[in-house]
């Protein structure tokens, strides 16, 4: 077992081949070919430092948190709360108590829909989302609307896959109670103008939730600079474990919101006459949490900081530019999502073959891409397509891997052309 280096601010020079060495899963053959993993928007791979953190926790420190007076419990609690501090710094939140551990982005949004929604949203009120949302930022609001009689408004998108900001501005009105929009689109790659979205809403006194599932793996996020009221992301897309995620919420909102789930850890005292809820953030963390996941997420944040967002952004930008150029040159291939401000996602269709057929042929070449609607059926409807094939990059991908992708697409043409 290697001991991960402590996080420090000394940035090492970026070398993609040395970085790839940190990810043991990348050293394998799939169907006899070197794995080319281009499905990072679905989930990212885990560096050895994260795997080691999980092994170490279960090997030496496993205990329940916040209740034991014994040594292991204190160690587990310390690491758990230490990770909360790392997330706070990572997002530049004002206070540890604004960081709630949840299962992922989906649960974070459901928490806000359930808790904020039932307290502040009534019949006739409006919630604004956009046409490019992931289903997890549509369905919780539809459920809330069904229960309360509120109405969902949808900001339309252009044919390049960008938000129609004028329409958004017009939609904000006296009935708007919340805006919930994704920061970066998983199926189109569009980076939305988050600061402007927040500013326009705040001018009208409307709070904003940003779905950051696809942004934190690629760019530094400063919630105070963005000004958003809530921010949600998932650990597993940030090179951390699955089933751990973050809801950031401004304290003034979280204090006013009722608990999301009842149980242990979220109470101060329980009697049948009156139960007193715990303070933030524990009010929203009922039951024994995913302790190992939290510690693993902390390790993932340390790892990402050690690589450095400048390096991540530079490598991904180069991959996006190179991949876009190469794929654009393929006969019959159309790139879906051509926003000016884009993260390293290339969704495409081919006139010769359906995305699922593309995916099967690419898989035989060891190339992992996602095919389907990517949980964004309204986006597919907008572009009048049933599905796309999607290559999504991380900083550990290389230009040589883009070349393998292109060669594999040639095989598709060989069969279907």
């Amino acid at each position: 077992m290697t001991i991960p280096k402590p996080a420090n601010n000394q940035k090492k020079k970026f070398d993609v081949h040395s970085v790839r060495g940190d990810f043991p899963i990348l050293r394998q053959l799939v169907h006899g070919k070197p794995l080319v993993y281009l499905d990072n928007a679905a989930t990212s791979q885990k560096p050895q430092a994260v795997i080691d953190a999980l092994v170490r926790y279960y090997s030496t420190d496993n205990a329940n948190i916040h209740r034991g007076v014994h040594e292991l419990s204190m160690r587990a609690t310390e690491q758990y709360e230490n990770a909360r501090g790392k997330v706070k710094t990572f997002l530049n939140a004002a206070d540890d108590r604004e960081i709630i551990f949840v299962r992922g982005t989906t649960e974070a949004i459901n928490l806000v829909a359930s808790s904020f929604g039932h307290k502040f949203i009534k019949a006739g009120d409006e919630i604004i989302v956009s046409n490019m949302e992931h289903h997890s930022n549509i369905v919780p609001w539809q459920i809330l609307c069904e229960q309360t009689g509120a109405k969902l408004r949808v900001v339309p998108i252009t044919d390049t896959g960008e938000l129609m900001m004028d329409e958004y501005g017009k939609m904000l009105g006296p009935r708007t109670k919340l805006v919930s929009i994704l920061h970066v689109s998983n199926s189109l790659g569009t980076i939305n103008p988050a600061e402007r979205i927040v500013k326009l809403a705040h001018d009208r006194g409307v709070p904003v939730l940003l779905d950051g599932a696809q942004s934190v793996p690629h760019m530094a996020v400063d919630v105070r600079k963005l000004g958003c009221d809530f921010y949600a992301f998932s650990g597993h897309k940030l090179f951390g474990p699955t089933s751990i995620g973050i809801l950031y919420g401004k304290r003034e909102w979280l204090e006013q919101m009722p608990p999301y789930q009842g149980g242990g850890d979220m109470i101060k005292s329980v009697t049948f006459e009156k139960t007193i809820y715990n303070d933030l953030p524990y009010k929203f963390e009922a039951g024994t949490p995913n302790i190992a996941g939290v510690i693993g997420l902390g390790a993932a944040i340390d790892y990402v900081n050690s690589v450095g967002y400048e390096n991540i952004a530079a490598q991904e930008h180069a991959l996006l530019e190179y991949g876009t150029k190469k794929l654009s040159g393929i006969d019959g291939l159309t790139i879906i999502g051509t926003a000016k401000n884009k993260s390293a996602v290339i969704s495409f269709t081919m006139k010769q073959a359906h995305p699922h057929d593309i995916g099967t042929i690419l898989d035989a070449e060891g190339v992992a891409v996602r095919t389907g609607h990517h949980c964004t059926q309204p986006v597919m409807e907008c572009f009048h397509i049933p599905a796309t094939a999607r290559a999504s990059f991380a900083f550990y991908n290389t230009k040589e891997e883009v070349d393998v992708l292109v060669k594999s697409i040639d095989k598709v043409l060989e069969v279907f052309g």
Partner: protein, 159 residues
């Protein structure tokens, strides 16, 4: 490199999967014209990939006389619908549910006997799909739509 953890998919195998019968039926699907007076119809839809099969047939003397299979989606889905439509023509309606069931078994890897092979004909070209578990649902859509068309047929012909 660590040892390969997944069996190699030979290029020949993939080529075999797509090249011949399947690609032919994908590019030139049979029986796509709508029927003026169907005795049964159903629409199958897979929301995960947008695959769609619209199936209709007309019956005379207890046998399928005309078939219409209109499909949209991937090569395997469309070829499966087209191959099935060819197989249905002239068949006794009381055999159709068994066809659907036997096809599901084929996708679970249970090969056809000599006698069944005679009945299924070119449909056997789809047997290779069983090697690609994630694609089995693509091949199955036409056959589950056949079951639904039979529901429609029986509902219309209740005595």
């Amino acid at each position: 490199m660590t040892e390969p953890q997944t069996p190699a998919v030979a290029w020949e195998e993939l080529d075999e999967l797509y090249r011949h019968t399947i690609l032919d039926h994908y590019k030139n699907p049979r029986n796509r014209e709508a029927l003026a007076h169907p005795d049964a119809q159903a629409r199958g839809y897979n929301p995960f990939c947008g695959d769609e099969v619209k199936l209709a047939f007309a019956v005379r003397g207890g046998r399928v006389q005309q078939v219409s299979a209109q499909s949209q989606g991937c090569a395997i889905c469309q070829a499966s619908a087209s191959l099935m439509s060819e197989m249905l023509k002239g068949t006794r309606t009381d055999k159709l549910r068994w066809f659907a069931e036997r096809f599901r078994e084929l996708m679970r890897g249970k090969g056809l006997s000599a006698e069944e092979r005679h009945v299924f004909g070119d449909v056997e070209a789809l047997a290779g799909v069983a090697q690609f578990p994630i694609r089995i649902k693509c091949a199955l859509l036409a056959w589950s739509t056949l079951d639904e068309a039979m529901d429609d047929y029986e509902a219309r012909h209740k005595t």
